[in-house]
């Protein structure tokens, strides 16, 4: 079992959280060839919350995560992370956000260690070499550190991509199907990370179909369908526009099922 270490400053537990919302969107929309992947959503996610992003395929979950990660521009509307505008302050937002997408973004011809070292250099990680070794150990790849990523399985690539997140000090972590391709140990690693991020006050927005596994870590769930928010439950998340008629328990239950 890998020892998981989170490299973020612990918030003072018990003190009121005065941080701005971790993520806030206003009429956020994204069109692909005229089709709305996001159809104008206005939400607020409070800092320090762990939120599940649920919905069927094509609901807009990945689009929302990519926009918040500055990897995709919105077609309309605006969004802020930690009070910073995603377009105007993109560079500062990138310092605060870590994103685990479907694709791992690794270089096949580099070794696991070289991939993380490259990431650490671009992230400006202090004490780079030690942190890279620690991250490799944390994700259970220390013994494969000098192997080229080309030889890795999908699950090992996923672990290494998780290791890359551990090199930074994000305040908002965006995970897109983090359990995909992982074995039991890998899934437990994700569980440990979710628990640790929650404990130190890092906001996590996680899109996953593994709802039962996630349940133990969640403060709230946000349900999307066809680019719109159809339901919200729990604490620390709000929609600033009215939800569709019927609310939670009707359309949302159908979507999540």
């Amino acid at each position: 079992m890998p020892q998981t270490t989170i490299y973020v400053s612990p918030r003072s537990l018990g003190a009121p959280d005065t941080r701005p919302p971790a993520a806030e969107t206003t009429e956020l929309a994204r069109l692909f060839s005229g089709n709305a992947a996001l159809a104008g959503i206005s939400i607020r996610i409070d800092a320090g919350r762990t939120v599940a992003l649920l919905g069927p395929n094509g609901a807009g979950k990945t689009t929302l995560l990519r926009i918040l990660a500055t990897s995709l521009r919105s077609s309309y509307g605006s969004a802020r992370v930690d009070g910073l505008d995603l377009v105007r302050d993109a560079g500062l937002v990138r310092e605060r956000v870590a994103y685990l997408p479907h694709a791992t973004g690794l270089y096949d011809d580099l070794t696991a260690r070289e991939n993380l070292d490259f990431a650490a250099t671009l992230l400006g990680t202090e004490d780079r070499r030690a942190r890279v070794e620690r991250a490799l150990s944390d994700v259970g790849l220390a013994d494969r550190a000098d192997d080229r990523v080309r030889s890795f399985s999908a699950g090992m690539r996923r672990r290494l991509a998780l290791g890359r997140i551990l090199l930074g000090r994000p305040s908002l972590v965006l995970l897109d199907e983090p359990y995909a391709a992982l074995d039991r140990d890998g899934m437990e690693l994700v569980d440990q990370l979710l628990a640790a991020w929650h404990e130190v006050g890092v906001t996590v927005l996680v899109a996953s179909h593994a709802t039962e596994r996630l349940e133990a870590f969640l403060d709230a769930t946000l349900v999307l369908d066809r680019g719109l928010v159809v339901a919200i439950s729990g604490e620390g998340v709000a929609s600033t526009t009215p939800l569709p008629a019927g609310g939670p328990g009707s359309r949302a239950a159908e979507v999540v099922r």
Partner: protein
């Protein structure tokens, strides 16, 4: 100053990453060197066995081979970034976009420089041209030519990397822009090989320097827009 140093560190890391991947995978150099050699041989066959004619055409053939092979090389270097979403990941790092451009251009320059020097040597052997007596101006021409192709190629490879028809689009976009470079490099090479009888070499090298500077500045200023989806 600190920001500039940080950007230089990022650019060097990207160039080093490309160099390591290239040394291990040989995605760009081997195929493009063979391609350049075939281009030279085919031009040689097309022009016939007349040694004087081949020697006179050598500067033009050299730079046509370098440009054609260079287009392949910069395309291959950018394809590294399409592996498993690497380009998207690269764009999400909190670094200046111009540093990413500089890193990719530096990696491209290294490959282009190797390519240019090998093709220059091949031209000397195949077309019986004496490159030894004018090695310094020839080296300067190859360095400036390689830098210009890398500067233009890095930008346009960024434009086309997400396109399905990138292999077709890249030469269509690059070749018109590279015309001044091709002209300057051929003229500078000709002047150097002839011993610069009309004193024009410096002017052609200045043209190459101006071209490189303009393309590097324009590329650095605009490359960030290409990284956005």
């Amino acid at each position: 100053m600190t920001a500039l140093r940080a950007e230089a560190r990022v650019a060097l890391a990207i160039a080093r990453k490309d160099a390591v991947a290239e040394l291990r995978g040989r995605h760009a150099t081997v195929s493009t060197l063979f391609f350049a050699a075939i281009v030279l041989l085919l031009f040689g066959f097309a022009l016939g066995p007349d040694a004087a004619r081949l020697a006179a055409a050598a500067p033009g053939l050299l730079w046509l081979a370098v440009v054609f092979a260079g287009i392949l090389a910069v395309n291959r270097l950018h394809l590294l970034e399409t592996d498993d979403g690497a380009l998207e990941q690269l764009a999400m790092y909190p670094v200046a976009r111009r540093a990413i451009y500089a890193g990719k251009a530096l990696g491209g320059f290294a490959v282009m420089l190797v390519l240019g020097l090998v093709v220059l040597g091949a031209v000397g052997v195949l077309f019986a041209v004496d490159i030894g007596s004018a090695w310094l101006p020839l080296l300067a021409t190859v360095v400036l030519g390689a830098l210009g192709i890398a500067a233009v190629g890095t930008f346009y490879a960024g434009v086309t990397v997400r396109l399905r028809a990138r292999e077709v689009m890249l030469p269509l976009l690059m070749l018109p822009i590279l015309t001044p470079l091709l002209l300057g490099a051929v003229k500078a090479t000709s002047a150097a090989l002839a011993g610069d009888p009309f004193g024009e070499l410096a002017a052609w090298l200045q043209l190459l320097i101006a071209f490189d500077l303009i393309m590097l500045v324009a590329g650095a200023a605009t490359y960030g827009f290409l990284l956005e989806d």
